[in-house]
């Protein structure tokens, strides 16, 4: 049972007080370029996921706190949550590093 802390309201609680929203930082192609999105780009957006074994950036909703979405960096093998940050923040550096490995 993960213990999660919201970076916005500091609410700390069980994973059941939060709601998981899947991989973070997925760009919705039609938001920026509605007319020129190929089938493959749309597929990648809808279905293709990094699904790494290790550091994963993901979205969580602070359901029993402030009701806001935020990002977390979690290791999918150890479950360690190393960082939480705002939903509007850019991907942190350690995520890029992990991706390169």
């Amino acid at each position: 049972m993960l213990l999660i802390k919201c970076p916005i309201c500091d609410c700390e609680g069980d994973e059941t007080d939060f709601h998981y929203g899947g991989e973070g930082h997925i760009q919705r192609p039609t938001s920026s370029n509605p007319d020129k999105v190929g089938d493959e780009a749309q597929r990648d957006y809808l279905y293709v996921r990094k699904n790494p074994r290790g550091l994963h950036s993901e979205r969580w909703l602070c359901e029993r706190g402030c009701g806001k979405w935020f990002h977390a960096l979690r290791d999918t093998a150890t479950m360690v949550i190393s960082k939480t940050y705002l939903i509007t923040d850019k991907p942190p550096a350690e995520l890029k590093k992990a991706g390169k490995k």
Binding site: M1, L2, E15, T16, H19, Y20, G22, E23, D39, E40, Q42, R43, D44, L46, Y47, V48, R49, K50, N51, P52, R53, H56, E58, R74, T76, A77, T78, M79
Partner: protein, 416 residues
Amino acid sequence: MQKYSIFTLARNAANYHKGWGLAWRSPEPKSEYDIVIIGAGGHGLATAYYLAKRHNLTNVAVVEKGWLGGGNTGRNTTIIRSNYLQDESAAIYELSRSLYEGLAQELNYNVMFSPRGLFMLCMTEHELRGFKRHAHANRLSGIESRMVSAEEVKRKIPILNVSPTARYPLLGALYQPRGGTARHDAVAWGYARGADNLGVDILQNCAVTGITRRGGKVTGIDTVKGHIKAKKVAIVTAGSTTLLGDMAGLKLPIESVTLQACVSEPIKPVLDVVIMAGTVHGYMSQSDKGELVIGGGADEYNNYSQRGSFPAIEHTITSLAELFPIIRRLKMLRQWAGIVDMTGDRSPIIGKTDVDGLYLNCGWGTGGFKSIPGSGLVFADTIANDRPHPIAEPFGLNRFAEGRLIDESIAAGVAH
């Protein structure tokens, strides 16, 4: 192959069973194989078996990072059924189910396929309508499956709570008389023994660390025991598919999550059929050894830990305790989890990839034990002939770009 039968058993008994040989060898890897299958789960082993048996391809290795059958094949709740709604699904699951009927004889290994009947309970009008649709579709595709009344369900499952004041009154069930269970480990072991006997090398404790390619074509694999050349490579690694896909540069519509299960202590028979209850997300059967085998939901977050969080299993047990009030005084003996590979439409992927000579069989998610024989058969055919078997064809990777999803979530809720 040493034949298994009551006679050989009796003969060996005289000698205190000292005469039994290995069910499978533990060979050293050769430097090259025609075909390498990554993953010695049920699907990988069945594929190897059918390659050898039906296509005479025996220069084949199944490469396994741990012990064979140790993935989801060795930890699932063993439900077998084929009453799926979509034509494509019904075709492959029914092929598979029918192969289960003769599997013990085919493999000379008793996999204890037990078609004792499977009930999918309907507890809301909406669910009832959905299952009626299943029953009609199944009947027209030639699958034995029908709706039964609440009274009939109660007759078959006396311990079910059908009180009119129950939270969800029972409205009936979708019944597949020849759905049931099999002994999961035996399926892996039987295929392993069969494949090994036909000359396939099963390489355990041999994790794959890389997939080598040249010019868009696969050339072999790197393993902890060194490089192995191969003309064709098939990835059949369930929850680990993304990691293998990354080695070959595949972009995959897959997420790995933990799916949970538990067993009660063994008790004398109380449940002779398999039940699934979508509205309350629970399913249960009783094994031949006596435990109630209980399948739970999946945790929502990506997870490679092979252990789950408590709420999912709690949710399931809470529901089952409502459906079967007598279980409240029984005890949970063990809980565990497996890493399942969920695709964008929750249906499997079987077929070729963009890399020449690289094949993929994955995405069985929460429900691929039942499909092991059928999937092995059509996948072997696909690899041997380098084109999708007709039953496998709809399950190609390309469907995600086309939007041609195969979505089974319609009424069942749970997909086991």
